[in-house]
Each structure stands twice: as structure tokens, then as C-alpha cells.
Symmetry: C2
Subunit: 202 residues, 2 copies
């Protein structure tokens, strides 16, 4: 049995939580370049060996931060699919904007992908991160697909809907603007995006 | 007047072309990690100072390679917008797959974003590259928007079409699958994607 801390949780879970909390604060405040394993260990009051055993590189730790932040993005089902998808896309855009701005001073260039790009590169550098990221997005998208499926069963969406492609189109447009074209994403854009995906171009 | 080489072009243009050709071959064969400024200078038979004067970092040179490769992606207008968009998306997917596979042995993991991710990170690291990349995609998307506009004027697409969002949805879905979810993109996916964007989810 794992050794337990004062709140009854295994010590390792407490240490993990402290590490991820410290890393989240550093990443959001100072960006990817300002995330230092040394400083995370110090702030979380754990030995560096503990930190490295759990997250072998800074890339791994940064992805753990994003996974934690994404857990907060709840998907709400009000029964109005246009509103629900728009709300969800606004949340995704908000998360991207937060990472895009991490470590930047207010007012500084807001079109660069910033830390979002570094996180993508982290997946490119480590196969285990790419795999973890694949699982993370599969889980996240499964929740969104349930929302879409319910709307389809209510008859609010077409019966032969390709829900995988619909989600790729929606989330993809946001990531594309942040990572590739360097254009803004916000509530107004989420509304245009959902309208285009629901109504079609024909 | 610039000094001219034997084919009448300024020597600097000849050197640039030789540099980009050497960099393209190295990048496609060995991936981002295998692109070395030293080796590019040697293969292109230019002084390293010449290379660095034109492209101050490997990131800058890699983006020049992508810009050159993208110039080959022609957009064809046959008058059938579904076919034209599908063909174009297949070309974009092909370019992404080529970069994704750069430096990998045949049969090796094909879901990692590989060099595509490194190129995105290069934009995140250098503001001048982010700006250049923005201009590059603006020009590329302007051509695709003309195709869409012609179809709209013919009455094949809805009159109130949001062509910026349509392109974000189409290209975005491909980049999202390559960079984020680690899923394949091919002709069959391009067909599903264009169908979803044209027909809409309602």
C-alpha cells in the first residue's frame, strides 16, 4: 500500500498535484521558455528526482498542465445545439488564447501562437507524448460527440451526420487560426464558425 | 547592378535557389533534426556567411523550404466546386503527409506530426517567421477564396457564404488531425470533409 499523507491521499498523488499546480502557474505566467524543472521542484517542495521520475522532461510536464486545464472545459447540453456548440468553441478558443498569451506582456503581439506552438512541438519530439495527446483529444472529443449525437437523435441535426468531421471542422478552424494563419479567435468567431458548419456552404 | 552568373540571373538568386534546393532535399530526407546549416552550405557550394546572411537560423531556412513546396500546390477550377475543393484539400493533405513523414523510415509511426510540428514551433519562436507565415497563408488562401467566390457568383454556393470560415474549416480540419489528434488525412478524408462543409450539419 502506498504511504499516505495527512489528508489520507497517497503521498505521490499529493506531490503530483503540487507539481502540476506549480508548473501551471509558471507556464501561464512566464510561457514555455520560463518553465524550469528546477523552479517547479522548488515551488512544489519535492525532490528533483521525484519530479523527473514522474515527468522525464519539461515537454512531458507542460502537456500535463494542458491536460489539467482542459479538464475544466465542461460541455453543457441545454438542448439548443447551436448555442451549445458555440459555447464549447468559445471555451476551446479561450484555452488557446490563454496559452497563446502565456508569458507575454499585456498588449504584446497577440497573433503569434506562442506556447501553443511549443506544446505542439513537444508532441512532435516525443512519441509517448504524441500518444498521450491522441488519447487526451479522443476522450475530449468523445464528450463533444455525445452532445452532437443527442442533437442528431432529437432530429436537430441531419440523420447521416459525420460527427467526427464536424468536430474536426470546428476545433480545427480554431487551432488553424492560432497555429497557422495567426488570426484571432473569440466569441464572435465561434458564432460564425458554428453557423457555417451547421448551415453548410451550398 | 548585381553581379550576374552564367545564366544571366543575379548570383544571389542562383545561390538562394541552390540553398533552398539543398535544404529541401535534406529536410525531406532527414527531417527537421537532420537539417544542418553546415551541410546545406556545403551542398549548395556557398559560404556559410552567405547562408546566414539570407536565413539567420535553421528555422528561417525550413520555412523557406515549405514556402517553395507550397508554390507547387496549384488550385484548379473545373467549374465543379465539390471536385475542385476536394482536389485542393487532397493536395494540402499530401503536403502535410510529406512533412509528417520527413526523416522517418517507411512504415514507421505515421500518426506523429513530425516535422510539421517543428515548423509550427519555428513560428512560435521567431516573430518575423510568424509574420512571414501569416503573409504566406494569406496569399495561399486568397487564391482558394477566388475559387470559392467564382462558385458563389455562379450560384453553386449560398449567396451569404462566409468564405473565410469555409477555408478555415477545410484546411483547419486537416492541420488539426495532423498536429493535434494524430489521425490520418487522405483523399477519402478530403471527400468527407468537403461533403460536410458543403452540405452542413442541419
Amino acid at each position: 500500500m502506498a504511504e499516505r499523507g495527512r489528508r489520507g491521499r497517497p503521498r505521490s498523488a499529493e506531490a503530483d498535484a503540487a507539481i502540476v499546480a506549480a508548473a501551471t502557474e509558471l507556464l501561464l505566467r512566464h510561457g514555455y521558455g520560463g518553465l524550469s524543472m528546477e523552479e517547479v521542484a522548488e515551488r512544489a517542495a519535492v525532490a528533483k528526482t521525484t519530479l523527473y521520475r514522474r515527468w522525464p522532461t519539461k515537454d512531458h510536464l507542460a502537456v500535463a498542465v494542458v491536460a489539467r486545464l482542459q479538464e475544466d472545459d465542461e460541455i453543457t447540453d441545454t438542448g439548443d445545439i447551436r448555442k451549445d456548440l458555440t459555447d464549447y468553441m468559445e471555451k476551446v478558443a479561450g484555452g488557446l488564447n490563454r496559452m497563446r498569451a502565456a508569458g507575454r506582456r499585456p498588449g504584446e503581439d497577440s497573433t503569434s501562437a506562442g506556447t501553443v506552438a511549443e506544446l505542439v512541438a513537444a508532441s512532435g519530439r516525443h512519441d509517448d507524448i504524441a500518444e498521450l495527446r491522441g488519447r487526451l483529444y479522443a476522450r475530449r472529443n468523445a464528450l463533444a460527440r455525445e452532445l452532437i449525437e443527442r442533437a442528431r437523435r432529437r432530429g436537430d441535426l441531419r440523420a447521416d451526420l459525420d460527427s467526427e468531421v464536424l468536430l474536426d471542422q470546428l476545433a480545427g478552424a480554431l487551432y488553424y487560426r492560432v497555429l497557422i494563419t495567426g488570426t484571432p479567435v473569440d466569441r464572435a468567431y465561434a458564432e460564425r464558425l458554428v453557423a457555417a458548419a451547421l448551415d453548410g456552404a451550398l
